[in-house]
Structures are given as structure tokens and as C-alpha cells.
Symmetry: C3
């Protein structure tokens, strides 16, 4: 969509240095931009690219204005400005309502006339699909589930039965929501007996869920994902997990059953969070952290080891596995020396 620079400046709340009527047709990196482009600088280390950009205009902070060779849109938060400008230039295209002839909608399901159901989607009995919802190709919505208005569920995702999904939710392809949690009791003879998973999953409004992520239903009671939570790809969320609003979870993280995560947390990629523990509001976990205790205070937490060359690492690991023993020995040697 083509927009004038003046309209963009107004939309993102920036101060325009340049031509109000200059037409912008795309948004690009500083490096790839051309005379149809607006770009942005949100990280000081790209200052060199700013100086040589061919963009028509750049969204940036006041401190970088002197280095800008083009028109400028000055704002306190250029990254937010970029996000807002991109949404203006690339608006979500709306699909007309309707049910594709190759979709499979049970007669007892209720689909709003403004919702769109793609080919090979299966909508089971008792399902409700609200206004402007989009159900992608080969999506399965299990019986008695509810899909809120403006919610988009993309290709091949599976929503199991009785799952409640709010409005303006975006679910990427290959997601599974509401499958059984991993719950078994040990039999006296050593085998396992499955525990029926009779709870469900509640996904509140404005949640986004990445490709091939899985969210299990509760054993008793529900798994709950609160408003505005953002979940990346291949995240695994166990039964009866609770995630507070606006928390963001990066890819490949696993959260075991009955963990309670606070509001506005930022959980890095490939973290592992054990079950039945609590994480406070505003906790930041760096990538690949292993959380096996509750974290009751906001702050930044870490656990894995950073990378090193393999030879040094082997020696250090060998020491690590004798760490306690070695400390005791050294302490003892010092004690002996002091005695003498």
C-alpha cells in the first residue's frame, strides 16, 4: 500500500523532517532500501548503513538525525515506529466470509457468515466460529470448541475438543492445542495407567502461537494462556500450565505441567522449565536456561554454559565433575599449611 510520508509520520507519532507528500511504497533494511522505501535505525551499530542508505526516509531517534542522508521521521522509539509503519504499509488482507465446498462443517456447528473456512478444514459438532475468523486449509476444530472473532488459525493446526480461543488470536501452522497432558499413574506391576485428561485449554485474546507448538489440556482444570501472550515455534506447554498476560516465550522452550508463569516475563529460546513451580512477574530467562526451582523475584536469570573450544571444554568438564572433591582437597591443603 502506498502512503505519503506525512501520513506515516502522523500514524507513528513522529516528527517529520522532509517532504509531507513524498510517496512510500515499501519498508526495507537500510542496506536494501531504494527511493520507494522507508527504513529505520533502532540499533546504534547500523550507523554506517544509515550514512549510505538510499531510502527516501528513515525512522530514527533524534541523536542520529545528523547522520541521516534522507528525510527523517524522529521518534523516541524507532523500533516501535518501524512496527507501526510496517503495519500501515502492509495491512492484513481480509478474506470474504464463506465455507469452501471442500471444507467439512458438521451440521451442528455454528459458523458466522463473515468467517471463512478453507478447503479440507474439518469443523466438528457443536463448534462455534465467530465473526471474521479464518480457519485455514486442513485445520481441525474438535467438537464443542470455540473460535473467537477475528481469530486466524492457519493450515494443518489441530484444535482438540472443548478448547476456548479468544478473539484476535493468531495461530500458525501445525500447532496442536488441547491434546492430552502426559499423565499416568504407576501400576503395582510396573506398567502405567493413563489418567483421563478432563480439563481443557483457554487461550485469551490477542495471543500469538508459533508453528508446531503444542499446548496440552488440563488433567483437572484448565491450561490457561492469558491475554497478549506471544509464543514462538516448537514451544511445548504441559497440562495445567498458567501463563500470565504479555509474557513472551521464544522458540523450542518446554514448560512442564502445572508451572505458573507470571506477567510480562521474557523467556529465551530452548529454556526448560520444570513442573509445579512458580515464576514471578517480569522475570527474564536467557536462552537455554534450566529452571528447576521457583523464581519468586523479578530479575534476569541464566543457567547454561556458554560455548568454548572443545579441548578446553573437555578439561573443564572433567574438573567440574570433581569440583566438590577438588575444593575439599585444596581447603584441606591450606589448613595443613596454616597448621605448620
Amino acid at each position: 500500500m502506498t502512503c505519503s510520508l506525512g501520513d506515516i509520520a502522523e500514524h507513528i507519532g513522529a516528527e517529520l523532517h522532509g517532504d509531507n507528500d513524498c510517496l512510500i511504497r515499501n519498508i526495507s533494511t537500510l542496506e536494501d532500501a531504494d527511493s520507494d522505501s522507508i527504513s529505520f535505525l533502532s540499533n546504534h551499530r547500523y550507523i554506517k548503513q544509515l550514512r549510505s542508505t538510499r531510502a527516501s526516509a528513515v525512522i530514527l531517534a533524534k541523536e542520529h538525525l545528523d547522520d541521516c542522508p534522507s528525510y527523517a521521521l524522529v521518534t523516541d522509539n524507532p523500533y516501535l515506529g518501524y512496527a507501526l509503519a510496517a503495519r500501515m504499509l502492509y495491512p492484513q488482507t481480509r478474506t470474504d466470509g464463506g465455507i469452501h465446498p471442500a471444507a467439512n462443517v458438521h451440521e451442528s456447528a455454528s459458523v458466522d457468515t463473515s468467517a471463512y473456512i478453507c478447503p479440507n478444514a474439518v469443523i466438528e459438532q457443536g463448534v462455534v466460529v465467530d465473526a471474521n475468523a479464518y480457519i485455514g486449509p486442513s485445520v481441525i476444530i474438535g467438537r464443542d470448541s470455540v473460535v473467537g472473532k477475528d481469530t486466524r488459525i492457519l493450515a494443518n493446526t489441530v484444535i482438540c475438543n472443548s478448547v476456548i480461543i479468544g478473539s484476535s488470536v493468531l495461530i500458525h501452522p501445525g500447532v496442536v492445542i488441547g491434546a492430552d497432558g502426559f499423565g499416568f499413574a504407576e501400576k503395582p506391576d510396573g506398567g502405567w495407567i493413563k489418567i483421563p485428561q478432563i480439563g481443557s485449554v483457554l487461550i485469551r485474546d490477542d495471543v500469538e502461537i508459533g508453528s508446531n507448538t503444542t499446548i496440552d489440556r488440563g488433567a483437572l482444570g484448565n491450561t490457561v494462556i492469558e491475554r497478549g501472550v506471544k509464543i514462538d515455534n516448537q514451544v511445548q506447554i504441559g497440562h495445567n500450565v498458567y501463563i500470565g498476560e504479555y509474557t513472551a516465550i521464544a522458540g523450542c522452550t518446554g514448560i512442564a505441567g502445572s508451572a505458573t508463569i507470571g506477567k510480562r516475563c521474557r523467556i529465551g529460546g530452548a529454556c526448560g522449565i520444570s513442573g509445579h513451580l512458580e515464576i514471578a512477574d517480569d522475570v527474564i530467562l536467557t536462552a537455554m536456561s534450566a529452571v528447576n526451582n521457583s523464581i519468586l523475584k523479578s530479575g534476569v536469570y541464566s543457567s547454561p554454559l556458554s560455548i568454548t573450544d572443545n579441548r578446553t571444554w573437555r578439561r573443564n568438564v572433567a574438573r567440574f565433575h570433581r569440583l566438590d572433591e577438588s575444593f575439599r582437597k585444596i581447603r584441606e591443603e591450606i589448613r595443613q599449611i596454616k597448621k605448620n
Copy 2:
């Protein structure tokens, strides 16, 4: 399903303290229970909730009987009692046999009349589907595969060709079984040549497999999952892995090719198990363990670091990366002191 307390007591083998004819309609946590509910206490730390529960009856151990404000079902293993009671109150609903008109069954496939094939399922040539099996919507069963009786394969799962699945298996949505293992030979020029993966996968009876888990076919010979194994979501199992009976594997764990896992192991979430190694029977791995050597003796094993605040962690990691060097220096200093 409504059951009398007497029937539940008998079914789970518990001693009833209360009214035989009291009707139970659901199972709930101690906190959420009402007068239609039975609940359970399997963990001492919920004793407070026991004292204030509104459940009609609670399944518990003898030692907690005095704290129980309601009827009680006394048993040595309340968690198993809960599992059995839940199965009684929430029996698996049976689907009548049949092939949905929107399913796609090859003429050479053999589907038992008591099996049910959902819309958009694809059953390829030579497939056998046994009695009472359930094939969910958009499930693909590749040519010459076999699905045993009472086995349920849920939505969007893919079973590749020539895979043998036993009876009473439960496979959750989005699973892929029998895709090629990751096998390549290096070409002299540095590229890769794919090795045909000509083995298959055998899944024995009573196995459960979680959402979006992947199990590769063997390169030569088969990948084998023995009877009663329970696998959680997003687990990755490489080619020619062997998993012994009743082993349970929590979510996000990866097992590399040709690893052999014993019987009755419990593998925590997000573990990584290297290939071509052996894990004995009855091994317990705590979550996020990295197994790069065989474990030849039963026991509890661990490897990752637990969580700490980021500042302390940074200092410790810096020390860790000089750990071997530092130990040598301290030893040398002590030697020098002793000399003098």
C-alpha cells in the same frame, strides 16, 4: 458418568468411610470440588486444601483420614486410586465403525468394519486397519502400514509406509512416524549423498505418543518402541533407536540414532541422548540432562546447571571456562608455599 461411592470404592480397591449410595458425578481438585465431586490427596503439601474441601468424598491414605471433612476412600496408593476412579467416571466414548464419505481409502486397503475413518484421512494401498481402530481427520497412513485393534491415531498425524503399529496404541495429533532417518555419507567433494532408509518402525501394544513427536524409520533394520512405552510431546527419536518396555519419556527430549534405552526408564523433559550408546534398565534422567556416554547401571543421573541470577552466573561461567587452568595455578601456589 454417574457412579455410586460404593461402586467407586470397589473399583479402585479402597476402604469406604461413608455412604455407599452417595452419587458422584465428577472428579476435581480439592479446591474446585463440590457436592457432586470426588477428589484425592496424593501429596502431603495439599493437606490444607483437604481440610477445607467441599468434595463429597476424597481418595486418600490412612494417615490423612483424620483431616478429611468428607467421606473417604482409603487406599495405599491414592494417585493410582484417582487414576482408576477418573477412568470409571470418564470412560472413553466409542465411535461406531464406518468410513466418512470425505475419507480417502485406497481400494486395496483392508479396513475392519468396526474401525472408523474420519473425513480427509488418506489410507494408502495395502494398509490394514484392525477392529475398533480410530483414524482421525487428515491422518495419513502410508502404503502397507498396519494399525492394530483399538488403536487411536488422532488428527493430522502421518504414518509413513510399512510401519507396524500394535493394539491399544494412542497417537496424538501432528505425530510423524516412519519418515527417513538423518543418514548421509560425505562425498569426496564435500557434499552429502543420501543413504536410503530401508528399515521401518515397530510400535508395540499400549504405547502412547504425544503431539508433534517424530519417530524415524531405521536405516537398516527397525526403530522399535516396546510395549507400554509412554512418550510425551515433541520428542524426537532417531533411526534404529530401541526403547524398552514401560519406559516414559517427557516432552522435548531428543534421542539420536541407534541409541538403546532400557526398560522402565524415566527420562525427564528436554534431555539430549547421543547416538550409538546404551542406557540400562531403570535409569532415571532428570530434566535437560545431556547423555553422551552409555549408562550401564540403574540410578538417577543429571547434568545441566540449575538456574541462578544472571550476574552470578556470568562470573561463574567465566571461572568455569578457566577452571582447569585455575586449579593448576592454585595447586602450584600451594606447592610453592609448602616448599618455602
Copy 3:
């Protein structure tokens, strides 16, 4: 397929010790082989199995010829010889071109007559499917995407819109390519605003991608997977990642946004690679490595801890969390001793 030993020797470039006309019908491990089989020895530790094999012929290095009880095919690289022989004995079966009546192909899509489209596949508007391509059951190809010649996309995979896939690519079931990257700007009130992901994904020729792997589209510009890259199951690749040619990535690895990986790297299973960093050509990462800094030199790198028994591990971890403090104390004690 049945082949003569002479033909196999010629095809794999090996020196034949034995009967040119001996017929080979399958390839097996040394242990499972029978008189119809060829086998191979690529690892010295299987020498015992070599001595007792019932194979008709074995592919091996010259040094093991004396231990071989059968005909032998001698080559410098027996593993490559095995790969080539397996490909000869188990050639890829070709499907005739055509569109299954239960496939759903948009009228504006262009499908080569030699390509095959399986039941329930959905080919959206503007898609191009080139010669001999195979689109599996329930695969979704989003609008304006391109599938190169001889490329095979297996069951239930989702290719989002405008993705370009080269020729001779093999994509296993359940893969998602081109879903939105994980990109949000923080709102002043603490919530998130989604950044449109307007780039795409380029997959070059001869790439293989494992089951349930996810590859996100670029935010601005493209995510690029270069020629000959091999990716295992359940790998997560973030937006704007670049992977150089012939790099191999084992299962469960996650690569965060805008990471640049060199050529011919070998990335072990379950590694975590942070975003906005660079990994040089020819880097080897052992399994479960956490990469949070650029690696600018080829070599072998590692980071996690290896496994130990849980009791020792607990003590070592406790020491680790006091590691910096403990070193300071010991140093101070030594200083005090020296003074006196």
C-alpha cells in the same frame, strides 16, 4: 532391485574380490545379512560381526580384507560405498504425473503434467509446481510459492505464501516453511505490537528438511537455506537466518533470528544458537551446545555438561554456583599464608 556383484563394484568404484555374477538382492547389517545380502564395515569395532557374517559380500577397506569370510568390495571409503550401493539396490520409485481428484488445485496455479498432486493437497492461487515434483497428501502450498523440479514435499507439510523451493529438495512430513517470524515491538503500556513479516524463504537445490521442522520467513529480506544443506527433524530456524551450503544440522536444534551460519558446518543435536551472530565455515558443534557468541574460526566447539550421577552432580552444582566466590576466598587464604 537385484544387481550383480560386478555391477555394484563398478558403480561404487570398488575392487571386487569374488564372483562378478553373484546376485545381490538386499543390503543388511553384518549381523542380519544372508546369502542374498551385501553388507559393509565402516567402523573397526564391528570386526567381530564381520568375521561371522553370512553376507555374500562385504564393502570394506583393504586393511579388513583378511578378516572377511565372504566376497569383498574394497574401497577407501566403505561408508560412501554403502550409501552408493544402497541407492543402486533401492532406487527411488517414480510416480506418474497427475492430479488426484481429491486434490484442491486453484485454477490460477501452474502444475507441470509430470508432477503428481496427492489427495487433499491444497495448491493455492499463483503457485508453480515444476516437472516431476511430488506433493504429498494434505500438503498445503500457499499462494505464489514455487516448487522446483524433482522436489518431493511429503504429507501434511505446510509451505506458506511466496516461498521459493529449488529442485531435488526433499521435505519430510509435518514441516512448516514460511510462517511468520517472532517479531514484536514493545508498546509503551507493556503489551506487544506485531511486526509484519514481509520477507520470505528461499530453499536452494538438493536441500533435505526433516519432519516437523519449522523455518520462518524473513521480517525484511529472506531466510535463506543454501544448496545441499541437510536439516534433521524438529529443527527451528528463525527469521532471516542464513545457512551456508552443505551445512548439516541434527535434530532439535534451534537457531534464533538473523544468525548467519557458514558452509560445511556440522551442528549437533539440540544445540541452541542465539540470534544476530555469525558462525564461520567448517565449524563443528557437539550436541546440546549453547552458542551465545559468534564463532569466527573453524574448529570443534562444545558447551554443555556431560552426565554424572545425581548426587555428585548436586554437590558440583552447589559448588558451581559459589565458584567465583570460592576462588576469591582460596586466593585470599593463599595470599594470607604467603604474607605470614
